[in-house]
Symmetry: D2
Subunit: 307 residues, 4 copies
């Protein structure tokens, strides 16, 4: 009944389950590393806030109704203050545990098994191999690290607004000046997390801006390896937190399912946008290394931009 | 009673809680990126195997008695095979959750709050700020991404053995030819995970090779930013899975606590060792981006080497 | 560093950590059993709804901001429908896991360590023994099963209303006709869960009816063993889900802390109330057996009334 | 995609999903209550030991390879010792969370959906309704509380041994003198947990005594409502922790699947056996109230005997 008890720890990924990450050739990686000029490293993730002794977990942007992260200490400084004896001649330690459901709650990379239509995943892999004990095909353990040239598409700045509105859609025109090349990570800024910060959860949940289907097709045609965005679902959402597009135009089906383009969602792009603003550059080394969760549908990540 | 409900998502790390990661200056980052020559990307992590419907989680190297990862699907392909209706006109999805306790169970980066002696953490931060709702000082959220030059110290190959024995200790001599510079990540291979694979858990638990205290001091003196190793505790372990050293010589106290050198443990270094063997090079771009778990004592990571 | 590795599985409870449960003498238990006349068994708990693939967990009454139950299958019928092979000659199985934080999320019994003031728990036990690895004093494992005469105090019916309003408080007068005797479980119905069902979460969260401090003192004076109610905190709550009383009048401090009266919260009493209505009886055999969670601050329970 | 968002909290169980629990008629409940003579209450459960800061969880009897309970405090006395401010004018609290997988790790009641053969659960309910988001048929939420006459079958005492040996099987002869009647809970003592205590895990895991298939059929023919035992699987286990019987003779298939007899496993019966020894009585009021985990395959329970 087991999922995978092999000792193939060295093996990681099979070509036909990596999708567009196959575009990350050695040549592309070398070129991406050459994007490092200033040496500034910027984290692109939201915090994972799991202190359940208070409503703190609910204060970070998330989709309504999702199970929020839970973080627990199994031993900590408070215990020593209360009288717990150190180990041996004086060693003290803190230890902890994390419960996390990445989709809709934190910055994460989708596995190719996350969404599909019909009976087959991306590339024809059978969907019935995605079972309770993990995805036997196209799990996040098959993805491998993303080391690529990243390009920021700062849509609010292009349009001269602080952030897109819930009903706004990123269109192919917005992507045109970005100079995206095959293998690049398209990093799409909508600015929507600013709404959470400034106006609170209800405003954030009233809908979300995102890519239009046409923009999704344009990115697929450009052969990007990953689409990363600061909204929750790449495409836009309505007030019930659902996509309005039908299957032909659903962004996950276009990018993840039909073209094997991995999706990174819920990034925090404000620092990156500020750093690039006015510099005339929009590219950088992008690195994201998903945890090798066997059969996982996603991994929480801290994607980084190295300028 | 809350831990941190601020909206400071952009802020990451405070200088006095980052320890040796402050060595990762922009200049060092630029130099590290220049180590990329071949464009080959190698993952340095063990898998996270959490399918609890079988004993699979117990088949990956771990310290005896630790709570192993648990991975659950909340909806999957099996459900659709059983009759679950797709969303709307045909969308299907898989969703999941992960429970993980990094220390002793998987590849991870230690936060500076993980170990201490007396009443103060690294740099004098009060240990009583490490509480049930997270470490208010020196948590893993304060670390920030590691982007540095990595140097492999392949001790078994230096000594002409397939792997070190449980009682072996890495000594300063082993480090001498490595050309370590300030800010580098010292990646120490003992080969011990091969024992799990070849001989099983009991052999792995019979003890572990690791750094001697003198080697730990040498690394601290070299101003490395991180020490990363494929054993479970940087230092060696006896058959009860404890360190034999007293507080003066304990590797965590020397490196993590006294010098603020972050520790990455339980790496899988076999592929990297094979890739570098015979090439005359031992350095590469090392990247590890811990999840921004607020108040965490560690984060699971997939560290990568870019050759 | 361990909490309790003894083999004292037979031992359960120590007299000075059981509080008012010491009133459950053999004689009281025999008398309670004699309350059984009709043989009807009524469950007094809310469901534990943990299917996180949808917002289902949020549809059961709970305090806003609390971590909701999570229930996962590690193998199920969907997996077999998708092709998982049975064990041996045909055995199939379903297996699961539950994550639960009882306070504020489901029907539960509070341990005596749940609330206190100053440095001591109930009966002078040191509060600093309540640590990250469990409560070394007054944990729910010390409580033991509750087998007692239960008496329903159906306050809405006494007052001729369908349910109390958020600002209403149960007063000593309401308790007077109930015929409560030492050792009884006082089961207090406010009807507040009906508000969740009829008007939704926001109405439920706008405040809660509950016992006044005077009523709490009256119950303590009557030497009841347990106070069980269908609201979330025995006492009333304001719109911020907090009690308005100061320490002298806080219901948890009066009952749980000063008098060792265990509290059962978030019961579902509608069926019981209907069954007793018009019968002229208000007593029954009450049984609640908390899980022996070592060092726990509470246990989820399904309390039962046997009429 | 949701499992059950109805508001039917009052509804509990449907007759055709309750199996032999339908034998618990009001008359049977009244008769069971009359078994209470001494008023002594005995808990029949193992502790739930989840302090993961040490190997404590592994010190309680369990099947090898199962995910053990994890118990965490989200705030505790140590935090206040370390400086956490009380709420308002002095209120302090402890709060916690539990992760539990009942089968093979603690005292629990199996749901009728736990095991089956072919495509149908007990009573023909479709097995493909048992999905990742819970069992839509025959879940533990359908069971309802067990209030019945319990009868201890103390097999070691009948045979004059301290406990059965791993290879021993309980036979119909052992049951004959017990006076079991329809609706009773047959409580079978093997004494096997004593082996864990006296000889340790390896001895406990070397196999387990249990019911023979013939004894299982005899109990089904007697129309008992529940079979409760102190071993891990009702039937015996071999050294690989598997049953040797084929599908016809598998105890779960005979009792749970074919006859709808709920199974309670991993009880701690030593105190009960001592209490009844030499008294000439073997019956008592048995109560077990599973948590109403929607779609659960089992619930942890603290079953009680009231003598």
């Amino acid at each position: 009944m087991s999922f995978d008890e092999s000792n193939n720890w060295g093996r990681w990924g099979s070509e036909d389950e990596r999708g567009a990450l196959n575009l990350l050739t050695p040549e592309a990686v070398v070129a991406a590393a050459r994007c490092v000029r200033d040496g500034r490293v910027i984290s692109l993730s939201l915090p994972i806030r799991g202190a359940t002794s208070s409503p703190a977990p609910a204060t970070v942007p998330h989709l309504r109704g999702r199970p929020l992260p839970q973080h627990f200490m199994s031993i900590d400084g408070g215990d020593y203050a209360a009288g717990t004896r150190p180990i041996g001649a004086g060693l003290k330690m803190a230890d902890d545990a994390l419960i996390v459901t990445p989709h809709g709650t934190t910055t994460h990379l989708d596995a190719l098994c996350h969404m599909w239509s019909g009976d087959a995943l991306y590339n024809g892999h059978p969907a019935d191999r995605v079972r309770s004990y993990g995805a036997g095909r196209c799990g996040i353990d098959k993805a491998g690290p993303v080391v690529a040239r990243g390009v920021l598409v700062d849509v609010p700045r292009l349009r001269g607004v602080p952030h897109l509105a819930a009903g706004d859609r990123v269109e192919p025109d917005d992507l045109e000046g970005a100079g995206l090349r095959p293998g690049d990570v398209a990093v799409i800024r909508t600015g929507w997390p600013l709404v959470w910060r400034a106006e609170g959860p209800d405003a954030y949940w009233a809908g979300q801006p995102g890519l239009s289907a046409r923009a999704g097709r344009a990115l697929a045609a450009l052969d990007v390896s990953v689409v990363a965005a600061d909204n929750a679902a790449i495409g836009g959402l309505n007030g019930r937190q659902l996509a309005d597009e039908g299957p032909d135009d659903d962004l996950h089906l276009i990018l993840l399912w039909r073209h094997g383009v991995h999706l990174a969602e819920m990034l925090w792009l404000e620092e990156l946008a500020d750093a690039l603003d006015g510099t005339g550059r929009d590219d950088f080394l992008f690195v994201a290394a998903p945890l090798k969760i066997e059969g996982g549908t996603a991994s929480p990540i801290d994607p980084i931009a190295v300028l």
